[in-house]
Amino acid sequence: MISHGVVRARSLISDQEAQAGAPNWCLAELSGRLCELLALSAATESSALLTAATYLIADAQRCAEPVAWICAASALFFPPDLESNGVDLQALTILRVADAQDAAQAADQLLRSGCFGLLVIDLSAVETKISDAVLARLKGLVRTHQATVLFLCNAAESDRSALGSMVSFRACARSRVISAGRFALEIEVSRDKRRGTPWRWTETCNGPPGMS
């Protein structure tokens, strides 16, 4: 009964600490969680998966947390853009694997080492097929090592999940033109098990070189 109480109290405290302030797209908000960031595959939306992930990587590196990018696609972020967004590329580990299962296995190994504070798994160009058992294992590891796993996925609709109920945080990232060369990065959170209610985070940003 006591140990149960301790676990409850600890989870209560960590949850309440996260809830203490206004919701924010930052590592502290997502710490110890499996997160899913979606881009709508419909052409009516402009995806901002990479920009949102880059913002989080820069935040993690500011907290001295090592970051790994696991890519299961034949495309990569354009590294100079990450550098101009404040990411230390020297400290960014990149893994290139074939599919979602391999990406999950690689994530498992990296999390077990306890060295990484953030893993970004880019599954936007492959079929997102990871079993619940694997996700449950990853969930346990992120809790143990106070890490964050952020899956970048495509979805047909904003409320549809690519990974199911195992993720404790689900959001949709999109960009919107504000004026010439200026954009708004919008993160619309549809599932947040800690806060319980949907929330939205917006940040203005410039276009890539040539568009801003």
Partner: protein
């Protein structure tokens, strides 16, 4: 070496009353429990004592003895307000101030390491007395080696104990009337012929609560128990409370523990929400026979770690002897903002060991091939696809703090395909920006490329026109 100093404001409620009514200073003045004829005289000044007014007297009787008596009630709010004022003042002279829970107007101060600031402990004591006099309070200060010893010393005069043995001898021989007992308890002790602290401490522990009540028991425990808890700062404090009244009286210890545990979780969640740390927990148990039992728990340092509190709680509850069931439980917690070191202790930052990553990299290379783990190295090239290369990574490097970050803020990030693919059709694209002409390596007869951004619906794609092949190629997208 621990050097607690006890600062005791003499007749604290009376001084509050006199500070609030300075015109009464030359009159007979008394503090009463209530402003009614049956109110009890709690404190008197010298003029009133000389006129025959005594502690414990009824207000009506005191007025008969001394018709010019000025008396009033000093409420707990006023007392607490003055205590807070004193604490803020005392913090200017010491790093730790601990308020006495059973004797308002008494504080323990940390006297260690202040010699370099005040030359000597005596000068520090003098500075404290002057500061207190500045806000209208006459006090006595005793620098000793334990809470009780310094307390007993400060109750009679300002003094400095040179050794713990001297302090112990003095405390044992001190008059029991120095302890904060009600007039009724003082009278009963006198009837029993108990005049010194040593005699009081020799009374059987079990009978104190039954004979004299819970308040006397608190003082007794203070006098006889070892003083091992370090001084704990008491400002700024917040009171947090959680109460429950079980459906049926709780007689089972396990059930009682479970009930208190749920109250504790409630209190802890309140401290987290307020950004505070629990410093003291007072458990109030009301039994079926209407007796009230108070248990006070204090950890070595303020904490909101549930495991720490539950461990202390279990130890205390195991020692609890209850004759009847518990009707009501209340948890009163004192919480305070933690010092920076405390935040660091429970910080969520986890130590990452880059060496441990090397093993993970080796396993990944064995599983997926030697080129699986890599890092990006930027290149000085014009063509986007040549502006970086991926090189194998053996050892994890911790991130450096970047000072050369783009000052213009966040920028949208492009995705670049490993190999550009031919655009099937351009009729659904709307130009967004371009062309940006990038020359190839002329010495290798490479052609120019005309880079563009275009909208495909609302998506932004990144493409180029190859002048040599006359093809439109998809280089990537903006995400």
């Amino acid at each position: 070496m621990v050097r607690p100093a006890c600062l005791s404001i003499v007749q604290f409620p009376l001084q509050i009353l006199l500070n609030a009514n300075p015109e009464w200073s030359s009159h007979a003045v008394a503090v009463v429990s209530e402003d009614k004829p049956l109110g009890i005289i709690l404190e008197t000044n010298r003029v009133a004592r000389e006129a025959g007014v005594q502690r414990g007297m009824r207000y009506s009787v005191a007025l008969t003895v001394c018709p010019a008596l000025q008396a009033d009630v000093v409420g707990s709010d006023a007392v607490q307000q003055q205590i807070d004022e004193c604490i803020s003042l005392l913090y200017r002279h010491t790093p730790h101030v601990e308020e006495c829970s059973f004797d308002p107007g008494t504080f323990w101060l940390d006297a260690r390491g202040l010699e370099s600031l005040y030359r000597s402990v005596e000068q520090w004591v003098g500075a404290l007395r002057s500061a207190m006099a500045g806000i209208g309070y006459f006090c006595r200060i005793c620098v000793g080696f334990s809470r009780f010893g310094s307390y007993a010393g400060a109750k009679s005069a300002t003094r400095l104990f040179r050794s713990s043995a001297q302090e112990r001898r003095w405390a044992q021989s001190a008059a029991v009337s120095l302890l904060p007992f009600t007039p009724k308890v003082q009278q009963r002790l006198a009837q029993l012929g108990i005049t010194t602290v040593a005699e009081f401490c020799a009374l059987p522990r079990e009978s104190i609560r039954n004979r004299f009540g819970a308040e006397t028991d608190t003082v007794y425990r203070f006098a006889v128990e070892d003083d091992i808890v370090p001084l704990q700062g008491s400002a700024p404090l917040s009171e947090l409370t959680s109460t429950t009244r079980p459906a049926a009286p709780i007689r089972d210890r396990t059930l009682l523990l479970a009930e208190i545990e749920s109250l504790l979780l409630d209190v802890l969640s309140q401290t987290v929400a307020a950004g505070l740390y629990l410093q003291q927990l007072c458990i109030e148990l009301t039994f079926e026979d209407q007796t009230l039992q108070r248990e006070v728990l204090r950890p070595a340092a303020a904490s909101r770690d549930a495991a720490v509190w539950l461990r202390l709680l279990r130890l205390r509850i195991e020692e609890l002897s209850a004759s009847s069931g518990v009707l009501r439980l209340a948890l009163n917690a004192e919480a305070a903002a933690a010092p920076v070191s405390q935040n660091e202790l429970f910080s969520a930052v986890v130590k990452r060991d880059p060496a441990a990553a090397a093993g993970a990299f080796a396993r990944l290379r064995a599983r997926f091939g030697n080129g699986v783990v890599c890092r990006v190295v930027l290149q000085q090239e014009h063509r986007p696809d040549r502006q970086f290369v991926l090189l194998p990574l053996d050892r994890l490097q911790l991130p450096a703090v970047r000072t050369d970050v783009n000052q213009q803020g966040l920028q949208l990030v492009r995705r670049i395909y490993d190999s550009a693919s031919e655009l099937p059709a351009r009729d659904r694209l709307r130009p967004a920006a371009g062309p940006f002409i990038v020359a190839g390596r002329w010495w290798e007869q490479e052609s120019e490329r005309h880079y563009y951004y275009a909208y495909h619906g609302k998506r932004i794609v990144w493409l180029y026109y190859d002048s040599e092949t006359d093809l439109w190629m998809l280089q990537g997208s903006v995400e």
